[in-house]
């Protein structure tokens, strides 16, 4: 099963990629990620006046010859990057053709593999009730356990809600984020359909954390272009509630308008909070998504 999540040729191509973090992150331990701390790596960062005790080898003598002032070169210290991959495991994700959750598992596997290859510290957080997380893990050798974890974690099971009480109802997206318990900062990648009234609060919680957030908004083609028609009773897969609608041309057109408007709202929210927003159609091949869309969006390079 692990092969289906991440095939060999695809994995070899992923080894040439790395995740991009646009902010300078504060991390722990030395890795190959630029840090806000100036250090002694070969990556030049800035100049400052020489003070006593500085290493004379780092004095820039060329500048001294022109200005008679001693400057020392500052180099960025490379640190380990924490990569938190959050996979929405709600029942709404387990829907569509191809299923959004399956697509999210494969995408998480690809991004996790990229991170492990780049000596990042990888965490995988399934956003579901009572779900355990994976990580921290680093090094290519941990790819196998990560893939096994991604393959095995379960989505939220449907429970009949007790009418009117709210007891037994599945947790919404914001509540699911309670399982994201770590306080470590780093790059947070959220894979979710955001089909929850609490999507805005959930994203706010992520935006409030230190570190960069990438929102991979995963929707199925049946959600983007519904092929329904006639008089239907729509059953919510997540909550089991029913909505009766007459799906004529007008209704489908209004739905399309509503969907576009909602996606613009999410994108606008992400932009305001410095989050990277990538809309995803699960009918798109994964390789195209990773090597084309995510590269253009600056999520990987």
């Amino acid at each position: 099963m692990t092969q289906t999540l991440l095939e060999g040729t695809f994995a070899r191509r992923l080894e040439r990629l790395s995740l991009v973090s646009r902010r300078r992150l504060v991390g722990q331990g030395q890795g190959d990620r630029r840090s806000l701390r100036k250090g002694s790596s070969l990556e030049f960062a800035d100049y400052r006046h020489y003070v006593e005790g500085d290493d004379p080898a780092r004095v820039d003598w060329n500048i001294y010859s022109r200005t008679d002032t001693l400057f020392v070169r500052l180099y960025e210290e490379e640190e380990v990057l924490n990569v938190h991959i959050l996979v929405d495991a709600s029942r709404s994700m387990d829907w569509g053709e191809p299923a959004k959750l399956r697509y999210a598992r494969r995408l998480a596997a690809a991004l996790g593999y990229v991170a492990l290859n780049a000596a990042n510290r990888v965490f995988v957080w399934p956003l579901a009730a009572n779900a355990s997380n994976f990580g921290p893990a680093w090094g290519r050798g941990r790819a196998g356990p990560m893939l096994t974890f991604l393959e095995d974690f379960h989505s939220t099971q449907f429970m009949t809600p007790l009418m009117g009480t709210g007891i037994g109802q599945p947790p919404d997206l914001e509540q699911s984020l309670n399982s994201f318990t770590t306080r470590t900062s780093g790059l947070i990648v959220l894979l979710s359909d955001l089909l929850s009234p609490s999507w805005e609060r959930a994203l706010s919680r992520l935006a409030g954390r230190s570190g960069e957030v990438v929102v991979l908004h995963t929707l199925a083609p049946q959600e983007l272009r519904p092929a329904l028609g006639g008089d239907v009773r729509l059953i919510d897969r997540e909550t089991g509630t029913a909505v009766s609608v007459t799906l004529n041309n007008d209704a489908v057109r209004i739905y399309g308008q509503r969907l576009d408007e909602w996606r613009r709202q999410v994108e606008s929210f992400c932009a305001r909070h410095g989050m990277c927003y990538v809309p995803i159609d699960t009918s798109m091949p994964l390789e195209t998504l990773v090597f084309d869309v995510l590269r253009r969006r600056g999520v990987v390079r």
Partner: protein, 620 residues
């Protein structure tokens, strides 16, 4: 508003049914979606588990209710009461006699009558019935008892005048029958009035209105008689007799032109007194001419009817029969054959008979002789020898006539009761021969029949051993025999009146007949047994009859017949009808009418339903 069929309102029950349909919830099928988060704006009905919903007025519901209400009302046949003219049954009699082709009114009397009939038709009260009858030699119902005025108008427009006189009495009686209820019957006669009223008309015709379409005092010159006969001095030449009449109260100067085979040969100026006539004889018409015509023209150019200006006569309808008598000597036969008209008789002794020569004769008479091989022509065999094609099987002495076929044309006007024969041969008759005179014990004394194309008659006794030559029936029998063996042409009557039928009797081997009229139109008939009646003779002139054999590749010699008006009543085109108009009392025709208007309601409902259909499909 009153209703003719109030039960139709029961259809109104469908209105609440439609409303109930709108109250009932739509049966929906379940579809699982990832989330209803985005669909909430589109929710139509949150109370999905209740069987009924609150009635929401929609355009579709309103359209359906209005359309159903209109249909239910229309089915109940609403009407309003109005006072109006009582419907009548109008019988439009259109005079189609020959005189209606006169052109004293333009374009013709007949066209004017049609126009007047159409005008009368339009003026009839609503819901009136109309019947149109063309009055010709026999009244012809064009359209019967209909309220469809366009149908009547079309029938009137399509009608054509005939070339014969009209049987007005029969037409009026027919109109009385077709018109039904006398109180509603209206007979309108559109005529030129150029006829006198039949004396024995019934009194109960009811309302009759005559619309006259002729100019009074319209004069006409006509050839009212034509006939031919052989010249007594030379029967190969023909004489032509004709009568020319002036149907006018003024004297006329006419020019009569005679033409033979289409070539004018003589013109004569004739002065005619008022209402006078002149009989003319034209002699010395050249031999061999087939037909002649006489045309008359008024020198002042005033002539009301043209179809009686020319009359035609057939001069030679058939050539003389070529008859060969092969005999050892029979004075009776020679005498009777030489006296028959239209016969060219040739004689040859039996010893000098040559079969090759015999083939060119129409009829060969063998007396006391038969060649081993019979010639192709038609045969009369008298007293055949024992050997030969007609073999004798003994003889009978003094046979008495038992019976004879009086109905057969060969024995018409022939009385055989006194026939005495001394000795007759008992001939074995072929199956195609029919015994016409026979003894009581079945011995045939006279038989005839047709074998393929050839006709054969047999008298199986010696004329000199019988009293037949002394009987008055003998020349009649021989004449009948010659007519049978050398039949006249296909045409029965060389001259007929226009509109009269011509009887055509084709030869047995003929497959089809083609008749070409003076208007250059030809009609073909497939022949069967018996004569054919050809009735399309309304146009005066010459009609050519061709007999087609062998799939139409060959023709037997064609015949002519002529159709002439030759009717003094029709040629006198001056209106003279009186005593018919104004008969019967006309009731005041105002009554209360029920005017239905269901059609308007149905016409309103149809576009409503179409719009409802369009509106429904536009939304889906």
């Amino acid at each position: 508003m009153n209703l003719l069929a109030p039960i139709g309102l029961a259809l109104g029950i469908t209105l609440p049914i439609v409303v109930i349909f709108y109250l009932l919830k739509v049966r929906r099928h379940d579809e699982e979606v990832s989330s209803t988060f985005l669909w909430n704006d589109l929710i139509r009905d949150l109370a999905a588990h209740e069987p009924l919903q609150r009635l929401k007025w929609s355009l579709l519901l309103v359209l359906q209710l209005v359309a159903l209400a209109l249909i239910a009302t229309a089915v109940a046949r609403p009407f309003s009461e109005q006072s109006g003219q009582k419907p009548v049954h109008a019988v439009l009699l259109l005079d189609g006699s020959a005189s209606m082709q006169a052109t004293d009114v333009q374009p013709s009397r007949f066209a004017k009558a049609v126009s007047a009939a159409q005008g009368t038709l339009q003026g009839l009260p609503d819901n009136s019935l109309a019947t149109a009858v063309l009055v010709a030699a026999h009244p012809q119902v064009l359209v019967a008892a209909t309220t469809d005025r366009r149908q009547v108008e079309k029938a009137l427009t399509d009608a054509q005048p005939s070339g014969a006189s009209a049987d007005m009495r029969e037409a009026l009686l027919l109109a009385r029958s077709l018109g039904g209820d006398p109180s509603a019957r209206r007979i309108y006669l559109f005529t030129d009035g150029a006829f006198t009223l039949p004396a024995d008309l019934p009194e109960d015709l009811g309302f009759v209105q005559v619309v006259t379409v002729a100019q009074p005092d319209t004069g006409n010159l006509a050839v009212t008689a034509i006939s031919t006969r052989p010249d007594p001095r030379d029967n190969r030449r023909q004489q032509l007799f004709t009568r020319i009449e002036n149907f006018s109260s003024a004297p006329a100067q006419a020019v009569a032109t005679i033409a033979v085979d289409g070539q004018p040969i003589e013109e004569r100026n004739i002065d005619l007194a008022p209402n006078g006539q002149s009989e003319q004889v034209f002699e010395d018409l050249q031999p061999g001419a087939r037909w002649a015509s006489v045309s008359v023209a008024d020198q002042q150019g005033d002539n009301g009817l043209t179809m009686d200006d020319t009359a035609y006569a057939i001069l030679v309808q058939r050539k003389p029969a070529q008859v060969l008598l092969v005999s050892t000597g029979n004075a009776f036969l020679e005498k009777v054959l030489s006296l028959l008209p239209n016969v060219d008789l040739f004689r040859t002794p039996a010893q000098r008979y040559l079969a090759v020569e015999a083939d060119r004769f129409d009829v060969i008479v063998f007396d006391d002789y038969l060649p081993p091989l019979l010639p192709r022509g038609n045969l009369l065999v008298v007293n055949p020898p024992d050997r030969g094609p007609f073999r004798a099987n003994g003889e009978v002495r003094r046979p008495k006539v038992g019976n004879w076929d009086r109905e057969d044309p060969l024995l018409s006007f022939v009385d055989m009761r006194d026939l005495n024969v001394n000795r007759a041969s008992k001939v074995d008759l072929p199956r195609w021969m029919k015994p016409l005179i026979s003894t009581s014990d079945g011995v045939s004394l006279f038989a005839a029949g047709q074998d393929g194309d050839r006709r054969v008659a047999i008298l199986p006794f010696d004329l000199r051993q019988s009293n037949l030559p002394n009987l008055s029936a003998f020349p009649i029998l021989m004449s009948n025999l010659l007519n049978y063996l050398s039949p006249p042409g296909v045409v029965r009557s060389p001259e007929i009146h226009t509109g009269s039928p011509e009887s055509l009797a084709p030869l047995p081997q003929v497959e089809r007949l083609r008749v070409s009229g003076p208007d250059d139109q030809s009609v073909e008939f497939r022949t069967s047994s018996g004569p054919i009646t050809y009735a399309a003779t309304d146009v005066p002139g010459l009609y050519r009859v061709q007999q087609l054999v062998a799939g139409g590749q060959q023709t037997v010699e064609d015949d002519l017949f002529a159709a002439n008006l030759a009717d003094r009543e029709e040629s006198d085109i001056r209106p003279r009808l009186s005593g018919l108009a104004g008969t019967g009392a006309v009731e005041a025709g105002v009554t209360v009418l029920q005017k239905e208007f269901w059609g308007v309601l149905a016409a309103l409902a149809l576009p409503l339903l179409l719009f409802e259909w369009f509106w429904f499909h536009r939304r889906v």
